[in-house]
């Protein structure tokens, strides 16, 4: 691994990686069964530098912001390197957002440059919201058909001058490296300002537990804009000379094939996908003839016993050969993140000899705060704090549960353009996570709920009530407000979180079927994971501030007086 202590920026570290690991393979891109691209580090550098030069010639200077909206592919990483090389600030956006949401965040971030793919650009350029984002001056579009109308954009592929030799624009450790949106597309955008130091420090901490090396192959499935994939599917492997494999399709049949074809070492998944994988495997085990099933169960039991203290991959691969062969035979661990993973899912894979590296993190904290070190495997916890992380439990209840606060060189410098929210979130250098937890005697963190008004789905999506309230605007009631049910009625659970709609009826109004159906209709306009699960009718007007904003905390406290089960009316 490179010595990151000597580098002050992501760009400088990547530049050294390109030189030191020049002959190693850094990127493989496959579309279904076809391999489309295989680049060495040297070739990666040759692709990125002409783009960096073009950016500089177009007036892009150190500190300027450039956004990438792309699916997982080699051009994502090449573009990111070009931006960092030019001293730019990367704004990675989730390609799954709507065009209106994309333009909103592009405008909020102050991006001058947008790098995207043709199918996405086709929708972005046609969106009426484009007019509201005047700051984007340059758009580079990849993979556009020959006769495509680019609506003022340039072709990404046009910048292939092999002789381009721009100079690395140096940045300091405390300079902004990325603006990462942790949420807030519908309401208050939360643009986490991440510095170069945040990433350099996080990379050292993570690779001390889960190292990368030349020849290692990481399968990139989580979107690269996500903090986890950015770290373990780009910066982490690149600082160690490892290889990242991108698939242009996420159809399960091709993902399965990629494991065996490319002998994958690590993959990151969200809990929802991991659970689906578990279901699929369990169904196959259940189909085994009774005799074979008994033998299989015995082997699983032996493996469980043998790996109690720590993983023994060589043994697990022999005991459960067929299972491991299906994953390519070289899988070291599945990294799971984005949301809480249920202990039984973790145990299921560990018993098969496939360690699942779970942990706990927030974009605001620079990816991971705690990680399970597997010594021993503890499915009931989210692991121990990473090196360099100070974690404390504030105002603990008698059972030790309190709010988790974090202090580290990896914590963001604040929310973009939102000093008020920054001041609420970072207090004396401590990041208030809004999550509740406790430490056990072995120093493992147990999460047990949230203090903040939001939910996290199994797909790793953070949903804030403010982001979905617009769908209920003009609902024929006196007033309404959306809450996370566990925020109103604190519950010691990180799974099955739900949103509720609190309403106050007009004085002469009754809660009837017509109103219920109206709420249902509006609810169905939301994506399934954003939908509310019930309605609570309030007996009093909502408490409001002098400027007539709803005092959410006071209203939640009032609702908490009601019995949860009785108060929540089904839709």
């Amino acid at each position: 691994m490179l010595d990151l202590a000597k580098h002050s920026s992501i760009g400088a570290a990547l530049e050294e990686a390109v030189q030191v690991f020049a002959k190693e393979t850094c990127l493989i891109e496959a579309d279904r069964e076809r391999e489309k691209e295989r680049l060495s580090y040297a070739e990666f550098g040759k692709r990125a530098l002409p783009l960096a030069r073009a950016l500089a010639e177009g007036g892009f200077a150190g500190g300027d912001r450039a956004s990438i909206i792309m699916t997982n592919q080699s051009k994502w990483l090449i573009s990111a390197y070009a931006i960092f090389y030019s001293g730019g600030v990367l704004v990675p956006l989730d390609y799954k957002l709507t065009p209106a949401e994309h333009w909103q965040l592009l405008e909020h971030s102050g991006a001058k440059v947008l790098i995207t793919e043709y199918p996405i650009w086709r929708q972005l350029s046609a969106s009426p919201a484009r007019a509201s984002a005047g700051g984007v001056q340059t758009v580079l579009v990849s993979e556009a058909p020959a006769n495509a109308d680019l609506s003022g954009a340039q072709r990404w592929e046009a910048f292939r001058n092999e002789n381009a030799a721009p100079v690395l624009v140096s940045r300091e450790r405390e300079d902004l490296a990325c603006i990462v949106y942790s949420s807030g597309t519908g309401g208050r955008p939360k643009g986490c300002m991440m510095t170069h130091e945040n990433y350099l420090e996080q990379c050292v901490a993570l690779t001390s537990l889960y190292p990368f090396w030349p020849g290692l192959r990481y399968l990139s499935i989580l979107p690269t804009n996500h903090a986890i994939d950015f770290m373990v599917g780009f910066f982490g492997p690149f600082t160690c000379g490892a290889c990242v494999v991108h698939l242009r399709t996420l159809r399960p049949e091709f993902v399965r094939e990629a494991f065996t074809k490319y002998k994958i070492t690590y993959v990151s998944l969200v809990p929802l996908v991991l659970k689906n994988l578990q279901k699929g495997l369990q169904a196959r085990f259940d189909e085994l003839p009774p005799g074979k099933r008994r033998i299989f169960r015995s082997l699983v039991a032996v493996n469980r016993l043998s790996t109690k203290a720590h993983p023994r991959l060589w043994l697990s691969r022999r005991l459960l050969k067929q299972v491991h062969a299906a994953f390519g035979g070289e899988l070291q661990a599945i990294i799971v993140g984005g949301a809480f993973t249920e202990p039984e899912t973790l145990q299921f894979f560990y018993d098969l000899g496939i360690p699942v590296a779970n942990g706990y993190g927030l974009t605001e904290a620079g990816t991971a705060i705690t990680v399970n070190d597997l010594r021993p495997f503890r499915p009931d916890t989210v692991g121990k704090p990473l090196p360099g992380m100070e974690v404390k439990i504030v105002d603990p209840a008698p059972d030790g549960v309190g709010e988790v606060w974090v202090r580290s060189k990896t914590v963001m410098s604040g929310y973009l353009n939102d000093p008020e929210l920054t001041a609420e979130t970072i207090v004396d250098g401590w990041l208030r996570t809004g999550d509740l937890g406790r430490f056990d005697r072995q120093g493992h963190l147990h999460l047990s709920g949230r203090k903040k008004n939001m939910i996290v789905t199994e797909e790793g999506k953070n949903i804030y009530p403010e982001d979905i309230e617009s769908v209920f605007e003009s609902l024929p009631v006196k007033e309404f407000c959306v809450f996370a049910a566990n925020y109103v009625w604190p519950k010691r659970s990180m799974v099955g979180e739900q949103l509720i709609l609190a309403i106050r009826l007009e004085s002469n109004q009754a809660f009837d079927d017509e109103l219920r159906q109206d709420v249902s209709r509006r609810n169905s306009r939301l994506l399934n994971y954003k939908r509310i699960h019930g309605i609570v009718v309030c007996g009093e007007d909502f408490p409001r501030t002098a400027s007539l904003k709803i005092k959410r905390n006071d209203l939640a406290a009032r609702l908490a007086q009601l019995d949860r089960e009785q108060a929540i009316l089904p839709l």
Binding site: E117, E143, R248, P252, E459, L526
Partner: protein, 80 residues
């Protein structure tokens, strides 16, 4: 070659069968995420079924952001 209307109707019929819905319960402008309440994995399954029916290849990135049957049918039509 079938018309766009025919393709759209075939897409709707296949989606109804795939998700066990009554014939005629889906329409071209329906947002399939919202109407069916499906997640991205279930959408990929539907795409695989449509591909084998129409005998085309529909890259994930080509249908990225598409959420209604009409646009989906247009993307399929352009590859027939």
């Amino acid at each position: 070659m079938p018309t766009l209307e025919n393709t759209t109707q075939e897409v709707l019929t296949l989606a109804e069968k795939h998700f066990n819905l009554a014939p005629g319960s889906l329409s071209p402008d329906d947002d399939f995420f919202k109407k069916l309440g499906i997640d991205s994995l279930q959408t990929l399954e539907l795409l695989s079924r449509l591909e084998s029916h129409f005998q085309i290849e529909l890259p994930d990135y080509e249908v990225q952001g598409v959420s209604d049957f009409k646009t989906l049918a247009e993307r399929i039509q352009s590859r027939l």
